[in-house]
């Protein structure tokens, strides 16, 4: 686990509230209440509860490694050093290319600016010290609360030569859902990018044939976005109406 980097809150009375691990990081939304009651009065007493949802934030050096991490220089630092060096050689400024680096749960994530994704992927694949030969595809995630960067594309790259695994994360706003395609670098991403387009509406510029792959060709909408309903119909069970899964009350 990475070191908690909480700055002490100057307004809080000394030792009154312990620092929360979740106080740092990237805010992706807020939750109200507890029991999902949003139509009518909430008599549970939890109606006023407000919770901020944060994903793990940027980590600082040293990053450590996958096993134990802790303090000290590790595999993740080696990868980051090699990547920064290789980008430098290409005439790119690493600080502009990599927004932030997150080390969490023994995994390292490089958040890359979308216009530099192909350059980073090519460097990761070709640099002898990096050699991430195998891309395991792309997974889309939709964060409607992450304003200006709602759509995330997550790539996992595996180096068989060095036996390492890293993650790249790229974002695009809902208003401009374009990302550069990396099919040219990793041909295996052909179907994966089509799948992510099909489900999230992310348009991969430069893909040879970006068409729907799972849903019918004339389908409207992108089913795995958070604002797209699951669908389903209520069913009767022992005299009671059970609503469809996405209409049921849920814990927020």
């Amino acid at each position: 686990m990475s070191e908690p980097t909480n700055p002490p809150n100057p307004d809080a009375p000394e030792e009154a509230v312990p620092a929360q691990r979740a106080d740092t990081g990237e805010v992706i939304g807020t939750r109200h209440g507890m029991f999902g009651a949003n139509n009518g009065g909430d008599t549970s007493g939890y109606g006023g509860l407000v919770r901020t949802v944060r994903l793990p934030g940027a980590s600082t050096r040293p990053y450590g490694g996958p096993a134990g991490a802790g303090e000290g220089y590790g595999t993740f630092d080696e990868i980051a050093d090699e990547l920064e060096g290789a980008l430098d050689e290409k005439g790119l400024v690493p600080e502009n290319v990599i927004e932030k680096t997150v080390v969490d749960r023994g995994e390292i994530t490089f958040h890359v600016q979308r216009e530099y994704l192909p350059a980073v992927a090519r460097t990761l694949r070709d640099d002898p010290a990096l050699r991430f030969e195998l891309c395991t595809g792309v997974s889309g995630v939709h964060y409607p609360g992450d304003k200006g960067r709602e759509l995330h594309a997550v790539y996992h790259l595996r180096s068989i030569t060095h036996n390492r695994l890293i993650r790249l994360e790229v974002t695009a706003p809902d208003a401009d859902p374009h990302l550069p395609s990396i099919v040219e670098i990793y041909p295996t991403n052909d179907w994966h990018e089509r799948e992510t387009y099909d489900f999230f509406g992310l348009i991969f510029d430069g893909h040879p044939a970006l068409t729907r792959i799972m849903m019918p060709d004339d389908w409207q909408g992108f089913p795995q976005r958070k604002d797209y309903p699951l669908g389903g119909i209520p069913v009767e069970y022992k005299g009671a109406q059970i609503p469809a899964p996405d209409q049921r009350r849920s814990y927020t």
């Binding site: 994903l55 749960r105 996992h156 068989i160 295996t188 179907w191 849903m215």
Partner: protein
């Protein structure tokens, strides 16, 4: 055979692209006559999605010139059921019930990969009891056997070798009996849960697995006798579905395909999970890059799996099969009744009759579930088909925020075009069978 009835005749439909024939079998003469009449040599054949040789609802679009395939494309998505979307509306524990249905021939791999990812998010990877991990490994290796048996059996059937099909399904039945004994179900088990297992092994399971290993060792020789040295079988398989290492890396093919190109890449050795580093087994490879090499690798992997299953049985010590944390351990007091796995009547008597707190706890955990700290994790296991990766995102709630399965069948099927183009139509069947795609996993 009498003359084909009116219904089975090839029907013709004129389109702007040329005539379209719908063929149902037994009406080839008309097609051949029409093709001979046509001045255009180029024919596009739509094979599937309902075709006995395409491993489920896979549609192959082949452009053929005589007997040669000049272009091959896949049409997939016929089995898409939105499992990843559905997962976002159920608790973390209910997720196993969904993921087990993805690649329905490798349910234990789907469940384990998903649970490993959830456990990583929870930070309880090291707390999973040893007994649960050993049973997981045992079930996964039995599952590798049953999956490879289906691959070899159906692959043989598609070549016209029905005997090997009967043998493969006969032996798979023995494994399904073991699944039924342990989990109550032959498929779709939802037996592996975040934190451990749904319940412990029932009495007699260890003996039955031991008896199976002994019997299967004996039966393995029959596959060698039937197929390995069979000249007809070899003639159909050798140099068919060729894909070398560079091709594997480009298309992202893993599993027996990449190992048939000579690279001993196996996540059980490279990035061990579930304690695989403590088991003694080999990773077989071949250097032929073809369907025959993949067949030999699958046979050898089955032998290695039998070795691992025996080692699991030897190290099974009595103990818990679920993490100790009662905030996560879903009340696993289940009992195997005549109608499958269900609530244990003893447990219901206790929570309904004697302990109100236990009842509240049971109710909360079953209806609300547990919360998982925000973040993302990737867990990968070596499924019989290759790297099965699971990307799980949590927003701190009681349900997954996003679950994505990198199914090896999906990725490997992309290699179909590279394996088939330039070859013969009949070899397409062999090449697809050697990829061993399962459409439930491809389409999810």
């Amino acid at each position: 055979m009498s003359t084909p009835s009116e219904a089975s005749r090839a029907s013709v439909r004129e389109t702007t692209e040329g005539p379209v024939y719908t063929v149902t079998g037994g009406d080839w003469d008309e097609i051949a006559a029409a093709a001979a009449k046509s001045d255009d040599e180029r024919i596009i054949v739509n094979m599937g999605p309902q075709h006995p040789s395409t491993h489920g609802v896979l549609r192959l679009i082949l452009e053929i010139d005589g007997e040669t395939v000049t272009e091959a494309r896949c049409g997939i998505g016929y089995l898409h059921t939105g499992i990843e979307k559905n997962l976002e509306f159920r608790t973390w524990t209910q997720g196993t019930t969904f993921v087990t249905r993805m690649d329905y021939l490798t349910p234990f791999f789907n469940e384990t990969a998903y649970c490993l990812a959830v456990e990583k998010l929870l930070g309880i990877t090291d707390d999973v009891p040893d007994r649960a991990t050993a049973i997981r490994v045992m079930l996964m290796e039995l599952n590798r056997l049953s999956s490879h048996l289906v691959c070899i059996a159906t692959g043989g059937m598609e070549l016209g070798a029905t005997t090997i099909m009967i043998y493969g399904f006969r032996d798979r039945e023995l494994i399904l009996d073991i699944y039924e004994l342990i989990t109550g179900l032959r498929m779709n088990h939802a037996y592996i849960r975040p934190g451990g297992l749904a319940q412990d092994l029932p009495p007699g399971a260890v003996d039955q697995v031991r008896a199976f290993v002994k019997k299967m060792r004996k039966n393995m020789a029959e596959y060698d006798k039937l197929a390995t040295g069979n000249p007809v079988f070899k003639a159909r398989m050798e140099d068919v579905g060729y894909l070398d290492l560079a091709g594997c890396m480009a298309t992202g093919a893993t599993g027996p395909i990449v190992r048939s190109a000579g690279l001993p890449h196996d996540l059980r050795k490279a990035q061990p999970y579930c304690g695989y580093e403590t088991y003694d087994f080999e990773v077989p490879t071949a250097d032929t890059c073809d369907a025959y090499g993949r067949f030999l690798i699958r046979l050898e992997e089955m032998r290695q799996s039998l070795r691992i299953v025996e080692q699991c049985l030897d190290r099974l010590e009595p103990g818990p099969v679920m993490v100790a944390d009662k905030k996560i351990a879903w009340p696993a007091q289940l009992a195997l009744g005549p109608d499958g796995l269900g609530n244990s009547l003893d447990h219901i008597k206790k929570i309904m009759g004697t302990s109100m707190e236990a009842l509240i706890h049971h109710f909360k955990l079953v209806t609300e579930g547990f919360r998982v700290p925000p973040g993302q994790a990737y867990a990968a296991v070596e499924s019989p088909k290759g790297e099965l990766g699971v990307h799980v995102v949590s927003d701190g709630g009681t349900r997954p925020y996003r679950v994505h399965f990198r199914d090896p069948s999906f990725t490997n099927l992309q290699a179909m075009a590279a394996m088939c183009e330039g070859g013969q139509v009949a070899d397409v069947i062999v090449a697809v069978a050697s990829i061993d795609p399962v459409m439930g996993g491809v389409d999810r």
